[in-house]
Subunit: 725 residues, 2 copies
């Protein structure tokens, strides 16, 4: 032990144990030829131990911890044990095996091995390992032993096992066993099969599938084979999951043109704005160089289920050229983006599009049972709604199992060409009459929008949020647009320009938006409420069940609601009276301004329900602009000031405190009234767990996240029930 002084390791062993270990090791060494152990065995052991300790800080380990968000852990432990050798001749060997197929989940022994080899040889890929089935012929005794052990281990741990084994001169050693990592499809299949095999309960099955597994199954992904050669040029934020491959285009218009020619395109931009919607819809994927997880591009992409990599700092767009991680690309060049990892590849990669299985349907129905049966105090059930603005999105969410629409934004509806011109006329109107004239033209179009959504949800609750745009987003920007609006309004461009300028805001996120519009221009919400009531009446006439809810955004004081609510009720009553029907319409409010959370008891007096707009609530609580965080968020995460991007998973400490305050104050005033969440966080598993604990009645997320939320919600129910026990 001559070098022991130099090495300072806390092995956790007593001096005696350490001595025994070294002696044991020396005995093994003695059995063999000197050439097998050119190094001093003790040196070698210390060296290996040191290397394991050192591996904690190697690049791969650091990266792994980053990806898996493993933080605040102090280091790794090292187990020291005597070694067995798979390279002592042809009666020796080593292998890795799974008790079921980790790709498909099929209950079939799966694995690989190499004779006369050590573990490294199997993993390194220098020699091609053999299929485990062939071991039966080579050494039936060992094979049978191995099968018996894996069966016993799987039965013991009640989960699919990943085993490493070594055969040393005919004798089988199991080096380790652990629950096997598996692909999404395998996770669902294993879970469903094991329930059928009575190995685990439904609750256990639900905890076995991670939300990420489901996410994989709902989005295209890059063919794993492609990774062998493909190298990412840069990495941005994994803003909307799934992989996309297409030709680069730089404008929404180009996207539409290339798409019309039958080409697949990826829209590459600095950022996107609502006017890009047309181009975003036809793109396979979206790549932006700025913006965070809740930038316009990210939010819209997630809503549409379109893969998106956002805020990729290594991407620099200049005109119709883009430099990605140092390589230049032009319009029409192929790229592939992976919205699940944030990676960007400068080539065409093949994609895999998985399909939804019967197993998954069954599995999700168990999740629904668990959520529906959950009880927290007076609150029964924990629902999953969706954020969707268009009938086709609502339909998709319905198919994915959404219990209702938690957030139907009305501002996107106005970006349709037909409505946009009238909307622009409205916001640029000089007086109330001009504004009312423009709104009158929008009314029948809005009514049609709402009818389509009610129909798609077929009687499930639909929460429609009244207009909440930063007005300037709707302002015409280009010369052509300004000329068009001027012509429509019958004014000169020169007269129009100052009005447009007046709508500019320094901080639109904190500007003239939400119900503030209804305070200054009540006629806008009046029109929307009338359209909702008329659409509901139409549904009823066509025997379509309908359950409308109206939601007022950006409320900061109860007097806003005290003004807007009675006004809306009168409009609804007039429509219903005229149509001689009665459809209950609940009127609630968003809680997304810190003041609204703090004064939730007062606000609850005028609201039938709350829905937390956690994007805005996070923005205001942190004073973080979601469009601007990209400049400092990476440093905050890297330097461990924040453990996770608060736009991804809710900040339980701060934003969560406001939510808790609001739920308590709101329910304190109104008993068990409905409280939900409709921010982007509604689709995040960690946040869903928090929402369950906070007593929320439902979460609402984008259609593609609905299955994941159904699972995460059920997991929250089970986890928190067992945490209580």
């Amino acid at each position: 032990m001559k070098k022991a002084k130099k090495v300072e390791l806390d092995t956790g062993l007593s001096a005696d144990d350490l001595k025994n270990l070294v002696d044991e090791y020396k005995k093994i060494v003695k059995k063999h030829a000197k050439k097998d152990f050119p190094q001093d065995p003790v040196d070698q052991m210390w060296g290996a131990t040191n290397a394991v300790f050192g591996s904690w800080m190697n690049d791969r380990a650091i990266k792994y911890r980053q990806i898996n968000e493993i933080k605040n852990v102090k280091g790794t432990a090292v187990n020291i044990q005597s070694m067995v050798f798979g390279n002592f001749g042809d009666d020796s060997g080593t292998g890795v095996c799974f008790s079921r197929d980790p790709s498909t989940g099929i209950n079939k022994f799966y694995g690989e091995y190499l004779m006369n080899a050590q573990g490294e040889d199997v993993v390194a890929g220098i020699r091609t390992p053999e299929k485990i089935a062939t071991l039966e012929k080579k050494n039936k005794k060992v094979y049978d032993q191995l099968v018996a052990i894996k069966d016993r281990l799987e039965n013991h741990f009640k989960d699919m096992q990943d085993l490493e084994f070594t055969v040393q001169q005919g004798e089988l050693f199991i080096l380790q066993t652990r629950s096997g990592k598996r692909a999404g499809a395998a996770a669902v299949k294993c879970a469903v099969d094991m329930v059928a095999e009575k190995l685990i309960t439904k609750e256990e099955a639900i905890l076995r599938v991670s939300p990420d597994h489901l996410d994989q199954l709902l989005h295209p992904m890059i063919d794993p084979k492609a990774f062998k050669t493909a190298k990412a040029l840069t990495k941005g934020l994994n803003a909307s999951p799934g992989a996309a491959c297409g030709r680069i285009v730089f404008t929404a218009k180009d996207a539409e043109e290339w798409n019309a020619k039958g080409e697949k395109v990826v829209l590459v931009r600095k950022d996107t704005s609502p006017e890009d919607i047309g181009g975003m819809v036809v793109s396979e994927g979206i790549l932006t160089s700025t913006g965070g997880m809740t930038s316009h591009a990210a939010v819209v992409a997630r809503g549409m289920g379109t893969p998106c990599v956002a805020g990729a700092k290594g991407v620099s767009v200049q005109g119709k050229k883009v430099v990605i991680g140092g390589t230049s690309f032009k319009e029409g060049d192929w790229i592939t983006i992976d919205g699940s990892t944030g990676n960007v590849y400068g080539e065409k990669l093949s994609l895999i599009v998985p399909s939804i299985s019967k197993d998954m349907s069954l599995f999700l129905s168990w999740c629904d049972e668990v959520r529906d049966a959950s009880v927290r105090g007076d609150i029964t059930g924990f629902k999953v709604r969706t954020n969707a603005d268009q009938p086709e999105d609502v339909k998709r969410a319905f198919d994915f199992g959404a219990d209702g629409v938690g957030l139907c934004r009305t501002e996107h509806m106005f970006f349709e060409k037909e409505k946009l011109i009238h909307f622009r006329a409205m916001i640029l109107a000089d007086n109330i009459d001009e504004r009312k004239a423009a709104l009158k033209k929008i009314l029948p179009l809005q009514k049609k929008d709402f009818f389509g959504i009610f129909k798609a949800m077929n009687g499930r609750p639909v929460t429609i949020r009244l207009l909440d745009p930063p007005l300037h987003e709707f302002v015409p920007h280009t010369k052509a647009e300004i000329a068009e609006v001027a012509a429509h309004l019958n004014v000169s461009v020169k007269d129009l320009q100052p009005k447009i300028d007046r709508l500019h805001e320094s901080n639109p996120m904190l500007g003239h938006r939400g119900c503030r519009l209804a305070v200054t221009y009540p006629e806008i919400y009046d029109m929307q409420v009338e359209a909702i009531a008329l659409a509901a009446v139409d549904c009823l006439k066509k025997k379509i069940p309908v359950h409308p809810e109206i939601m007022i955004p950006i409320v900061c004081d109860e007097r806003e609601l005290a003004m807007i609510r009675p006004n809306s009720e009168t409009i609804i009553k007039n429509v219903m009276t005229k149509a001689k029907v009665e459809i209950p319409v609940r009127i609630g409010t968003m809680i997304e301004v810190p003041r609204a959370a703090l004064l939730a008891d007062k606000i609850a007096e005028y609201a039938d329900f709350f829905s937390f707009g956690t994007n805005d609530l996070t923005q205001m609580t942190f004073a973080f602009s979601r469009d601007d965080v990209a400049s400092f968020m990476p440093s905050y995460l890297e330097k461990n000031i924040l453990e996770v991007d608060p736009f991804k998973s809710i900040d339980e400490e701060g934003v969560g405190m406001l939510i808790d305050i609001a739920v308590k104050k709101g329910r304190g005033m109104k008993g068990d009234f409905k409280v939900g969440i409709c921010g982007e966080h509604g689709g995040d598993p960690q946040t869903i767990d928090f929402c369950y604990r906070a007593g929320l009645s439902y979460v609402s997320c984008s259609p593609f996240r609905v299955p994941l939320a159904r699972l995460a919600g059920a997991q929250a129910v089970i986890r928190n029930a067992s945490a209580k026990k």
Copy 2:
């Protein structure tokens, strides 16, 4: 009573009382000739009563309530009493008098009257009333009676009285008495005199002078005589008090040029930006068409004590022309603005510049005694500090009686030409070395800034806030500026432009600012901390007492402080060790982000003090951008959704709740540590009262508000002490 059925009034009288009253009235009428009462007497009474009730809603009354912020009152009461007549001949008359002079406060009977006239005749100004002294000759008995009554009333009410009287056929009737409205100078003189006369206590004297009175005495005002003909063209926000008169200029450069020629100018702009500072300094007043009470123009003007009318919607600037309330003006035309009322006049009006009296000094010293002696739990005293960035401002605040500097912003220091180029080089640097090189050049200049401020405060505490700019404010805008910076950095304009673009933010208020800069670029704060320590050492060497405090802005998580604080402490220690001195430097934090208030207990662990940045806290809590509220705030006030602009007086309900939470949590962690306020609210009397109740150790306000805050603070102490009793 034939018309009684038509009139529905709740007179508050019983049927019997009403009958008696009418009978009494009829008796009076009977005594006189029919021609004096052409109307039916009962009709007349009902008519008059109705008119009084109706007067509640006339334009003047509504305006009065708006100006005086009288809200949520249900209406007026009407006293019905029998009438006396001053127009029954030359032995009758009527008048209005004050027990002391309401303009100067001098203790001399003051008033006017008219013989054979009713009250209306005196007030209406058709006949010229006579001085009260002449009444002695006309009717000594009545005069002596009147003097005796006014003495008795003043002694009884212990305040200067405003009396209305009528003499009916030689008999004196007092119609009403009330505490007399008085000018600022009179208020102070009355208060000081009455203490000397032992009529009232010092505490009572303090409550007799309103903060607005003091404000009048510290700013020029429009000569009241000028109001007889002058008519305001439009009205904006009363953003910085005092009146200013000068020639219109439209750019900061023009302001400097006209000023250099010896002309007085008023800077008229859409809004101002930090680059306009030079022109703002030389202007008599500032008028902007956009922005609220805390827009750049308003904040800077208040800091400099320059009158400012902001957000005047009736003002429309186009190039070098401006339309004010429909009238066009060009460069060089005279205007007068009144920053105390928000009025804008299209002509040259004469101004009165009051001086500070000995009485005021004495009066304020009483205020200081009261504040210094106040006790709330463990906290003794309630201090007044100032927000000042330049030695001359600090000196002025010191002269006005400030107990220290509560907020020394460092960002304005960088706008000086000498520093700006290096600062721009710093924020546009490509790497840490370039950034450090630029900072090295700024260090000695910053040290000089801090030295000047320490010296001006002469040992009183000076809280220096480390850099908190929205970076983009410092970005070069014009071609010339960009070219200058490019040359300085030795790069091409083409290469510089993308870097400038990258600094653009969608919502700079929620962007890369405050301590976020220190997380991404620690070397900036390092330089500032070193400059502070070096300046403190220099002071000590020159025997100037020094008391520096460092304040970290925009903190939202304790880990920001946990990172910045030890770093700063090391730098300070190094400087002190090298200089072989020891100067304690406390390091505290702003509480201006809602999350910081919510998690104040955790943050207090790393802070020696808190200071509430209520501008930002109000912005985030309401989600109101102070630069954009002008588009909806007027509607919010008009429709009574908000009772007062929360950027003017603190919103006690919401923002105040966060302050209460933070004070409780902070003190819960640290005992009686120092908590102050340094937002613009620190100079608002209502807010000062709240701050006292909330347990704050001090308020900090702009130099010109310091005397007002000394008074308002003392009033808070007295009012809340008596409220407790």
